[in-house]
């Protein structure tokens, strides 16, 4: 696609500030302190602004848009996997643009080097010092196109950034900005000459979304609206990065009850016990599942998580982490169907209901008889 210019900084860094070089520490972050959580109406207004902005650009993909926002608010990373031309990159770009924050895009190719991602130290003649030139990863939203085309070395350079939100070059650790989100796209069809993401790396993506083809009406509308100009040009940022940080703080405060935790663990254990799976859901995946569920709950205007929230994100969060048994795979089973089967089998907090029925109320009722 773009063989020469591999790294482009699409947007100027917020406030026009560039890297000052000598002190790379704290660059582009929100000054290190925690944002105050938003009140429910404000949160709701902000999330609705983002979603409607995305929906003006991408037709008929409200679910995918909401899931992308969920991942952003849950501080996770998103893997978009689908055939070319269904709007993976468009979704990533739109999401990035609706938020007033720094965005960088990396087109992954086999000859991309790790330093291109993380950054490199360059000798500054005038100051006679080595200066750190930050890589593409120093942005709030990093779009990694065709991530499976890069070599394993480069891919794993992204790993540390994704998990720890920091970059280590020449012994120095540089904090990444908050919020930080990697949106990677991947083409599952054309696999020749690619380096498929290893399990460890896939596990670091909170969710994987398959866009799928739009329905008939949306496709017709898309043909009309996208004729002349790129719809992306019209998109304006509707929230600031600070707003997003506050929203993230709100999400973190969502309450998770014992029952929901038990349910989440039950789902995870069920995948591990399944005879059709070679690899079940990891504990980290359950953590991310719960985080995504919290974000879903917050987007739904609640301050506590329902099992419904877990169910809503389970397929997107778990399906790309589990590995099917060879026999099950050859018989046409898919991870998505398997997750759905597990969800259809696990009772929702049956014990809690019974405990509440028998344990708490029975003793109180006795005197009234």
């Amino acid at each position: 696609m773009e063989p020469h210019r591999r790294i482009t900084i699409d947007e100027a860094l917020p406030g026009g500030q560039g890297f000052t070089g000598s002190t790379a520490r704290g660059v582009n972050s929100f000054n290190g302190h925690k944002s105050a959580p938003l009140e429910a109406p404000a949160f709701r207004a902000a999330s609705e602004r983002i979603l409607s902005a995305i929906n003006t650009v991408i037709d008929g993909k409200a679910e995918a848009a909401k899931l992308a926002l969920t991942v952003l608010l849950a501080q996770g990373h998103l893997l978009l996997e689908d055939v070319p031309g269904v709007g993976k990159t468009l979704l990533a770009k739109t999401l990035a643009r609706t938020i007033d924050c720094s965005v960088s895009r990396i087109q992954f190719t086999p000859d991309l080097l790790p330093s291109d991602v993380t950054g490199v130290s360059i000798y500054n003649q005038s100051s006679r010092q080595f200066e750190f030139r930050p890589g593409a990863v120093f942005a709030n939203i990093v779009i990694g196109d065709e991530i499976n085309r890069a070599s394993a070395k480069t891919q794993s350079a992204l790993l540390e950034c994704m998990e720890e939100h920091q970059v280590t070059v020449d012994g120095h650790s540089y904090k990444l900005g908050e919020p930080f989100m990697v949106v990677a796209t991947q083409n599952p069809i054309e696999m020749e000459g690619t380096y498929p993401l290893p399990e460890a790396q896939r596990d670091r993506f909170m969710a994987r979304i398959s866009m799928g083809y739009p329905d008939k009406d949306s496709e017709i509308e898309m043909l009309e609206t996208h004729q002349a100009t790129s719809p992306l040009a019209r998109v304006k940022a509707v929230v600031t990065a600070a707003d997003v940080a506050a929203m993230i703080a709100t999400v973190q405060q969502v309450f998770v009850s014992e029952a929901v935790k038990e349910y989440t663990v039950a789902v995870g254990r069920a995948t591990r016990d399944s005879a059709m799976l070679r690899l079940g859901a990891s504990p980290r995946s359950l953590l991310q599942l719960l985080r995504a569920a919290k974000a879903t709950a917050a987007l739904d205007g609640r301050d506590f998580v329902l099992p419904d929230d877990v169910v809503a994100v389970a397929e997107a969060v778990l399906a790309h982490r589990i590995i099917l048994d060879r026999k099950a795979a050859s018989s046409g089973e898919t991870p998505q169907a398997l997750i759905r089967g597990v969800l259809a089998r696990i009772p929702v907090s049956r014990e809690m209901t019974e405990k509440a029925n028998s344990g708490r109320t029975a003793p109180e009722l006795r005197p009234s008889r």
Partner: protein, 858 residues
Amino acid sequence: MTLTTQPQAGTGVQPQPVPGSPGSGRFGAGAFPWVMAGAVAVSVCGASLSLNGVLRGWAWFLPVLTTVVVVSLTMALLRTFRAQPLLVAAGGLASLALILTFTFFRRDSIAGFLPSQATFDALGRHLRRASETVLAESSPVAPNAGIVLVTCAALGLVVILVDALALPLGMPATSGLGLLAVLVVPAMIKPQSVGWLGFATTAAGYLVILACSQWFAPDARTQADTARNPGQVRRAALTGGVALVVTLLLQLVVPGFDQGTFPQGSRLNPWGTATGLNPMISLGNSLRTPTGEGRITYATNSATPLYLRSVTVDRFDGESWSPDDRNANRRAGTGRMDAGHEILAPEQTRQVTVVNTGDFTSPYLPVPYAPESVNGLTGRWSWDPATLSIKGTDTNSRDQQYLVQSSVPKLTTELLDASSAPVQGVPEEFIRPPSNVPDIVRTTAESVTADSRTAYAKAMAIQRFLRGPGFTYSLESPVQNGYDGNGLSVLADFLTQKSGYCIHFASAMAVMARLEGIPSRIAVGYAPGRQTGATVSVAGQGALPEYEVDARDAHAWPELYFQGLGWVPFEPTPSRGVVPAYAQDSSASGGTSTNEQNNDGLVPSNGAAAPSSAPAPAPLPLPGSGTADAGNQLAPALYTAAGVLLLVLLAASPRLVRRGIRARRLRGTGTGRDRLAEQPLVWSELQDLATDYGVRPVPSETPRTFSARLRGSPALRLRSEPDPGGAKDTGSGADTGNGPGHGAGTFNAQTVHAVTALTEAYERHQYGRPAGQDATRHGLPEEAAVEHIGQVRQALRRNAGTVGRLRADWLPPSVLSRWGSVARWPFGVLGRAATRVGRAASALWRRTRRGLRRLRAG
């Protein structure tokens, strides 16, 4: 775990011919019909082998074999010509008719096999014969033409049934029902049940049917391709094992297999007590009958209880004793009978007895000894001068009513003691001691009678010995293999175990008496019964008291011959019958003298019946015969009332339980104790309400999904209205309640709002922050919750049909399913345990096999 690979259903099943018309393929009708016909014939013949023992001998088997083979071959032939399934069955029936005509009515038909009018006449005769045999004889019955005809016809029909089940209906496994129908007959009638031979051949035939339908069926429907399914063998073994265990355990738990309705050793006889050809065999069965079947009533002017005698047994050789009819000597007509030997007793007592046999069915007539004339019988009867037993030549004792005049000599101890003249005029078979007498019988007889000189003293010694404390009365021993044997070997067992019932006591005394030179025989009949309280007026006698006996009174006793006194009955069986005065010990002779005023030889052994001044004959006292009557009349009413009450309670109990649960839940809410505790209760009530009206909660469903499903279900929604919120299941629940409030929808919107509110309150309670951390959070006030529940209930009732409402009221599924789960619990535990054991066993086996292989390799 539970997601198994589905077999590719679409590819395996090609449009094949339906079973029963296997004709479309090249070899569609090739070997298959013949193989199946052979399998059916083999299985039915195998099952019929078990009939040996119901029918005597094997002579009946050839006609059965012919019938079965002809019928099945005919059907196979028709199938080869691709006839319709109905036509095949019709052809089978026709061939059955032809072969039966050919076998049984060759002379009465046209050309030897075409039925004619004469054939049907003969058929009627045969069927009458068969029904008489079934009624009058006990197994094994002689294979007369009637019975064999019925057997052949039944087995031919079974062939058609099995064939129809296995082929046109495509249910080969069910065809075992036809074979089972054959097995039921010997299982009920034969004392030793079906027997291993019959069972093995039937099972083999059944397996042949199954195998043939699996291997030879030309279509895919019965030829299931599941052999490669790895769990199949384990599942089959598990199913079989559980079935076996349940069968074995069930008969231990369920009463009625060794007591009650089917006591061990007895068999069901749906036609009442047929004493049959060998009353000795059926006697034990009669005694063990819990209900009084074969009731006989009689009225007599005899002052003492009367023994009714049917038949005597006098030949003690061989393994199975049976009465000897002596047909050559029998004389027809019962108007005048005479035993033929002179009676030298000074006085004779004449008795008049009216007997009504009711449904007691036997070829022999129960009469008091010694009959002089029997009047009022229907049918032809004959009597044996030697034994005075009366037997029907073409009829039986069912529904007979007759008047017997009998006479017995007045016997006293002195008379008997004095009777020492050598025996004369008695047929040889009553005198000859049996051959092959076991040593124990002989030595016992010698030691018992060592000190006695006269015949009477010897008889008394034997009776005293048998009535002594060493012997106990028992219906269970010495029964062997469920068969109440009565040969000499059984007698030896009896003397060893010192336990048995009347037949053993009687035969022991009879055999021992013969060994000591006293002519003897065993009389079989009934011990004296109970007074019914009714009277029967007999011409010339006035009103006579009525007695009744039934199967439980069946009895056997020895009769010993004393020269000049005739046949004298004794009573060696303890605790049964009545010991005659002459046969009582000298210690009890005081009683004898007082009772001599009765001018009667027989005296009740029971002192309670002693008041001789009573004008009425002393009946055998029966506990609680008089005073208990009032109670008896009241008791049924009470029982009925209690039963009705119980039934009503039982019918109403689901409703009552449901009401109780609801009241408890809503009351728990209303008192406003702890708001935390309410929500689950209200929520459970909502779930149960939905269950009752057909919307069952699924365990894997979240509250919100359930609520959306309930809101969208026709049970709650008005049919005319658009879906107010069901489709939007994960959306914000609060919005759905504020639907359009126009017309009938207002009511609906209210209920939808109620469900939504309840759901939100429950969610908040269940998953929200605990109250301590968020005090402002409280959901619904109690009154609102109760009101919401009421609204939902009303809406559900309104939308449900009459049937649905009735069901929700009287058989609420929420209660029933809870009970069901409680009832299923032990099975679930058993099943899980069985699975675990099976898994462990298979793992062990795998490990052992691997170890063995390694051992062999290394």
